[in-house]
């Protein structure tokens, strides 16, 4: 590592919640989607889980809202280096959707896809055990379109490109299949604590 002459940087704040290479974006919540924000209303929104499952199923907005409500309060980390602390999302735990479709024992991975056609791949283990949500509320308000509303996937322990905006479905697979950014050089898993930004990290 080359020390940069004259660079001191901001005062060091030791924040145990800040993964390596990340900084605290404070109140900012940058928007980084690569596509046009879709005009998608709750009435148009559906969420499907299929692939290696006992019983594929599609939920519409009202049906999804009959599942038990679940909240996430904590931190999120974007691969572009910002982190945001103490955010509050509301929605339904992905476990509730998965329980309804009964995943096959052979299922190891999933491709999450959006109503825009955006895709991202995740190990199934990262989507279960109370660590992933379908979220439609942010800070007690409906999630705004540019942040993925009406509903997005939320997998806060991985870099945020895994938390697909405008979520349309999950397909369960017995292998890993790279999604949009993963085909574009980004890491297959994206664990911020191991700084898995780009493939090969």
């Amino acid at each position: 590592m080359n020390v940069t002459r004259g660079f001191t940087g901001r005062p060091r704040v030791h924040h145990p919640g800040l993964p390596p290479g990340q900084y605290d974006a404070g109140d900012d919540w940058p928007v980084l989607s690569a596509e046009v924000t879709p005009d998608l209303t709750p009435a148009d929104w559906t969420f499907r889980v299929d692939g290696l499952v006992g019983e594929p199923r599609t939920w519409d907005w009202d049906e999804a809202h009959t599942l038990p409500e679940s909240r996430y309060e904590g931190d999120i980390h974007c691969v572009t280096s910002w982190s945001k602390f103490g955010v509050r999302f509301g929605g339904v735990s992905l476990d509730a959707f998965l329980a309804a479709v009964r995943p096959d024992a052979a299922a190891t991975h999933a491709v999450a896809y959006s109503h825009t056609g955006y895709t991202t791949n995740l190990p199934l283990a990262d989507l279960t055990g109370g660590r992933a949500w379908i979220a439609w509320e942010y800070d007690g308000r409906p999630l705004t379109p540019e942040h993925g509303g009406p509903a997005r996937l939320l997998v806060p322990h991985l870099y945020f490109w895994k938390s697909a905006k405008w979520i349309a479905g999950l397909r369960l697979l017995d292998h890993d299949e790279p999604g949009f950014w993963e085909q574009n050089g980004y890491h297959e898993r994206g664990n911020p604590w191991e700084e898995q930004r780009y493939s090969g990290d």
Binding site: M1, F7, P30, A34, E35, V36, E177, F180
Partner: protein
């Protein structure tokens, strides 16, 4: 590096909108940090300057790509940010970045107050093929502020190679003083001034009337445009809505948001 669209993934989502296909580029250099030595600083506007670096082992890039840059303090503390590459790919072992001076900015602040030729920083890249333009299809470029940086790489590439493929740039700035690369634009460019404009030119936001000449009638090239939008999120939302309203297909609009 290849210029082709990637083969479709095994799973194609059944969706109502469509993200543009990616453009396949090499990933091999993305994982390695390289030393970039500052060789020249050129002022562009009161807020923005261009920084030229020697990066001897630079693997080359496509216009529109960006890199990750990091500064390292004595105690090992690092600050890293993304920057678009402003220069055209010219294989001479140099790249240029253009940075806005963000008030209180950790990285842009160092560049604008401290940096001088001979200083060394670290870069990895080029990154992300999504916003790349290989020069193979008509390109409609729409940018604001420092969002013009990756688009300028495309304009420069178009010129350097003498490409025939149509290319148009709509660039928005507060006023003529704030227009980055003002001296370099030619007939391909229409500046849009939001606050103060030269005499005889109305000031105002990018509007449908700016897009009409290129998206309707004889302005529209055969096969249509690939649109590249870059700037703040607010600008990207505004510009992409105008493009869709003017008939530009959603799956041919690529957006780079600086957050």
């Amino acid at each position: 590096m290849t210029d082709t669209f990637a083969a479709p993934a095994a799973f194609t989502p059944p969706t109502r909108f469509a993200v543009p296909g990616r453009i396949a580029v090499s990933n091999r250099s993305a994982a390695v940090w390289q030393t970039a030595t500052l060789t020249e600083i050129r002022r562009e506007t009161p807020q923005a300057a261009t920084f030229r670096f020697a990066v001897p082992a630079w693997a080359g890039h496509l216009p529109g790509q960006h890199l990750m840059l990091r500064l390292i303090a004595q105690d090992g503390y690092t600050a890293q940010r993304h920057y678009s590459i402003a220069s055209a790919p010219d294989d001479d072992g140099h790249i240029e970045l253009t940075l806005d001076h963000v008030a209180g900015g950790e990285v842009s602040g160092w560049f604008h107050t401290e940096a001088k030729p001979g200083d060394r920083v670290e870069v990895r890249g080029p990154l992300s093929g999504f916003f790349a333009w290989p020069g193979d299809r008509p390109a409609l470029l729409v940018g604001a502020g420092s969002g013009v940086v990756p688009l300028m790489s495309m304009v420069r590439h178009h010129r350097a190679r003498g490409l025939d493929v149509p290319l148009r740039l709509l660039v928005s700035a507060r006023g003529p003083e704030e227009l980055i690369y003002a001296r370099e634009y030619g007939a391909e460019t229409t500046p849009v001034f939001t606050r103060s404009a030269p005499r005889g030119v109305p000031a105002g936001r990018l509007a449908a009337a700016h897009l009409a000449p290129v998206l309707a009638g004889s302005g529209l090239p055969p096969g249509g445009w690939e649109a590249y939008v870059c700037g703040s999120n607010a600008f990207a939302e505004h510009a992409s809505r105008l493009l869709v309203a003017a008939g530009q297909p959603v799956d041919r609009i690529r957006i780079e948001r600086f957050g």
